[in-house]
Symmetry: C2
Amino acid sequence: MVGTGLIGGSFALAARRAGLFDDIVGIEPDAERGRRALALGQVDRIARDVADDADAVLLAGPSHSVAPWVTRLAGHRAVLFDVASVKGAVLQQVRSEGPIPARFVPCHPLAGSERSGPDAAQAELFRDAEVIVTPTPVTDVAALDRVCGWWRAVGARVSRMEPDHHDAVLAVTSHLPHLLAFAYLQQVDDEHVRHAAGGFRDFTRIGAADADMWAPIFELNRDALLAALGDLETSLGRARRLLQDGDGSAMRAFIREAALRRGREAAVRGAGTGDG
Amino acid sequence: MVGTGLIGGSFALAARRAGLFDDIVGIEPDAERGRRALALGQVDRIARDVADDADAVLLAGPSHSVAPWVTRLAGHRAVLFDVASVKGAVLQQVRSEGPIPARFVPCHPLAGSERSGPDAAQAELFRDAEVIVTPTPVTDVAALDRVCGWWRAVGARVSRMEPDHHDAVLAVTSHLPHLLAFAYLQQVDDEHVRHAAGGFRDFTRIGAADADMWAPIFELNRDALLAALGDLETSLGRARRLLQDGDGSAMRAFIREAALRRGREAAVRGAGTGDG
């Protein structure tokens, strides 16, 4: 397992509980983080590199670390899988260095938290979460089946998507909300914070996320994120005009449209809109 | 009590539990809503107008309904208090029709939900919530004390602010996040919703709010909201440039600044950033 953060540590805990692997080895450039993962029982030991006889390698470092590792392990016997939030761009990086290994299965678990590191890991993180796999035309079917089986064994549902389509969808559902929360928070000071209520806390929760994780995601998915940002700027411009014109009935329609689209979330996922 | 929605109904339930009033009468133009408030035991009866011998009148309708009611009840003996999310603009509306009644105590409880109506009401809504009161130079001290006492009796903390300052603060902490969530949701379709995770749900929760409540808030607090929106547009423009330039280290600094400001929320309020 390369990277002992929230996702790697959680997968290790869950995999251990499900009895998926005999021995879990952590590769972690940050020595303190590696020690924590070891102390918390997430890994059996820390190593410098992947052993030649490893069966599976989870690449759980930041998004920009995935392609170099895939390239480096291209000739290894192990099944490789990652958890990066960007898929198309990572595959393109790998392709620029050589053929995509058939035993590399690109994955993105839609689970996480604004917290990070081994101490944030939990065995139940993937319970009922969706994992999107984005196999390529060369992906080995047996490797794909094994990886999907591991995700299911830790409680996740697996769905499948084209890599570039994944990046366009996630730009809207995840990357843009993070960028918006980061931008919004620039104007928030201590007085604002003192008088903030539940709406503020929910809206800005993702704004506490880790910069070392998110800057590379934005960079890798730049084009799709810029497109999503463009759509947002258009909507925001419309909101500004409705506000300036004092057009109450058009503003009501604008808000109703938003609430309707948010409401579908409840309908599609079976969760109440008042879920907290 | 004028208006039997989430806030009015919740206050009625909590006030009844605390034994604050002998008799709670609801005034509600929406007959079905009035029947629900009655059936749920939030009010003892529904009436068309405020009785001459009422001791207190809570104005719990939408923000734009407050000023007309204050003007109408200017000569009434009762202590008047409201719960509108905008304070300066409401006082200005009242002032445009005549002197501000001394027994009118402007209040804004920072409690609520994206849900609305009597069925969403709960006696514990104000427990540990902040209520901002914005007395004017003419506000009667005895009336102010009574209203603050009622809020404390239902579990709230009371703080005090200048009306216009309240509107500037709330434009940033509440009105802008709602506008942003509404604007963002315009581009969200069913496929996005199917692949949304916890971050999306938290970020958009306020986007399911009631249009009839929010359009008047935006209209009343237009100037402060436009100023807050201008700041956001500046930050978003900065984010766009960092993204286009591929300036990873400046993007990291931008994200760290956001996380730091969000982190203060935890520090100031004593709640973990991982509070859900």
